[in-house]
């Protein structure tokens, strides 16, 4: 078993070996993944960060290239690829990485995502607590689930026992001399929120048109909070941020709840917020299943926690299937 002090020493050691460490940091009420300046910044007590590992793999905005109109030059922009250790992600966020991998490194490879992903090592700290929004077990994961982690630390008697999950984790452990632990993990916390997903896909297969879509989306105000904080949502926009003669083209998160998302100069195929909300549910629980064989939801519960108007995805799924 490793105590918190042991862990902080380990992280300091990794930083000393040239790894950039990204970990949950608390600032006032908000815990978010940040590039760690000092190991002592790490917060061990929170349930879940507000942001997700998308901030590492698919950031909210990034420069694709710089251009110069007069020279007609296009200069791809890429930061030096350095190994990043994500320390302290929760199992749900780690699981979400595998879903994005299937989408962005599957049939088509998003080279920017892929390069970041190759350089990212996920060291998860499994959960010793869950809040009322957590529903990972309903989506087939769990508070100690190793899916997507390279190394996982399971809570044990106030500290953590570390286990290797992937080959990448094994290589990293041997490179930095991380000793693995034998001890037993504490029991997994119980989740209060639990739904069964049986029949949801089958219902969605049959009910593109249903009056229920209007009912379940009633409270939605079409903001992007649930999307932007979702660990598996990955839609993006591409826009030029232009100067007089030079500028940058950026990739920026975008969201199916915005009316402009599908609006073309002469045509808008998706009118109405219930249709946009339908896209969100369909995309997560049907289209992604059809295309990659996985549901694009890990039950992290951020959409429930941060929706300003109480749209509750588990309730929606149950209401749809009812």
């Amino acid at each position: 078993m490793k105590t918190i002090e042991d862990i902080l020493r380990l992280i300091e050691d990794w930083q000393g070996k040239g790894y950039t460490v990204v970990a949950p940091v608390r600032s006032e009420g908000l815990v978010s993944f940040e590039v760690l300046r000092a190991p002592s910044q790490i917060d061990f007590d929170h349930v879940l960060t507000v942001n997700t590992l998308k901030d590492v793999t698919l950031p909210r905005c990034e420069t694709l290239f710089k251009y110069d109109v007069e020279k007609a030059s296009i200069e791809p922009s890429w930061e030096a690829s350095q190994p990043i250790v994500v320390f302290g992600s929760r199992p749900c966020d780690a699981a979400a990485v595998t879903i994005l991998d299937s989408i962005l490194m599957g049939e088509v490879t998003d080279s920017r995502y892929a390069r970041r992903r190759e350089n990212m090592i996920v060291v998860t700290l499994a959960c010793s607590q869950a809040d009322e929004a957590c529903f990972c077990t309903s989506m087939g994961y769990g508070p100690h689930d190793p899916t997507g982690s390279d190394i996982i630390g399971l809570p044990s008697k106030g500290g953590y026992v570390f286990r290797v999950v992937s080959q990448k984790g094994k290589d990293f452990a041997s490179k930095v001399g991380l000793e693995l632990d034998e001890g037993r993990a504490d029991p997994e916390p119980e989740l209060k929120r639990r739904i069964t997903t049986d029949g949801i896909k089958a219902w969605l297969d049959e009910n593109f048109e249903s009056p229920k879509w209007e009912k379940v989306s009633e409270n939605c105000v079409s903001c992007g909070a649930c999307y932007y904080l979702c660990p598996t949502c990955h839609c993006f926009d591409i826009a030029d941020e232009a100067g007089a003669s030079r500028g940058v083209r950026m990739r920026i998160w975008d969201c199916c709840s915005f009316a402009g998302f599908t609006k073309m100069a002469a045509h808008q195929p998706r009118v109405g917020k219930h249709r946009r909300y339908r896209q969100r549910i369909m995309h997560k629980f049907k289209y992604t299943v059809d295309n990659i064989g996985k549901t694009a939801c890990v039950g992290d519960g951020r959409c429930i926690r941060y929706c300003p108007y109480g749209v509750d995805i588990t309730e929606v799924l149950e209401a749809l299937r009812e």
Binding site: T63, A242, A244
Partner: protein, 153 residues
């Protein structure tokens, strides 16, 4: 003249632009840091113009309109007056020196006033120095206007 400063002036077509023009035609000497954009009325000046000017490297913005009562559109300047006050206060609230946003009423006959305002504003902004705070948050590649960046990188 300071070659470090650039100040954007949004001047209404009917009074202040004509006033600035008069300053030129009567060969009044004044500082040359102000680049003028002519607008139909001070009421046309949208707050985004001001932010865009800062984003593109302006160290300060001056807006000019007709004196109260002289507006070509009767009350464009009076409506704008409320907005300008709010903009100045809000700039100050977010930590921007209010002197980086100046407002002047200047008639077509007031070439001398325009010259005086320009000189005063330039002095004040010079004392504040370039608007480094804003330049620091705009990515350099998008940079300010063309001529400034040429040969810089």
């Amino acid at each position: 003249m300071s070659d470090r400063l650039r100040i954007v002036g949004f001047l209404c077509n009917w009074c202040s632009y004509a006033g600035a023009d008069l300053a030129g035609t009567t060969r009044l000497k004044h500082r040359a840091e102000v680049r003028i954009v002519r607008v139909p009325c001070s009421g046309r000046i949208d707050p985004v113009f001001i932010l865009k000017a800062y984003e593109r490297g302006a160290d300060a913005v001056i807006v000019g309109g007709c004196h109260p009562g002289d507006c070509h559109y009767v009350s464009g300047n009076l409506n704008a007056r409320r907005r300008f006050l709010v903009i100045r206060k809000l700039l100050e609230f977010i930590g921007i020196e209010p002197d980086r946003f100046e407002v002047t009423w200047c008639s077509a006959a007031e070439g001398e006033k325009w010259a005086k305002v320009v000189n005063e504003v330039c002095d004040r902004v010079e004392a504040l120095g370039p608007f480094e705070a804003y330049k620091a948050i705009t990515p350099p590649v998008r940079g300010p206007v063309k001529e400034v960046t040429t040969g810089e990188e």
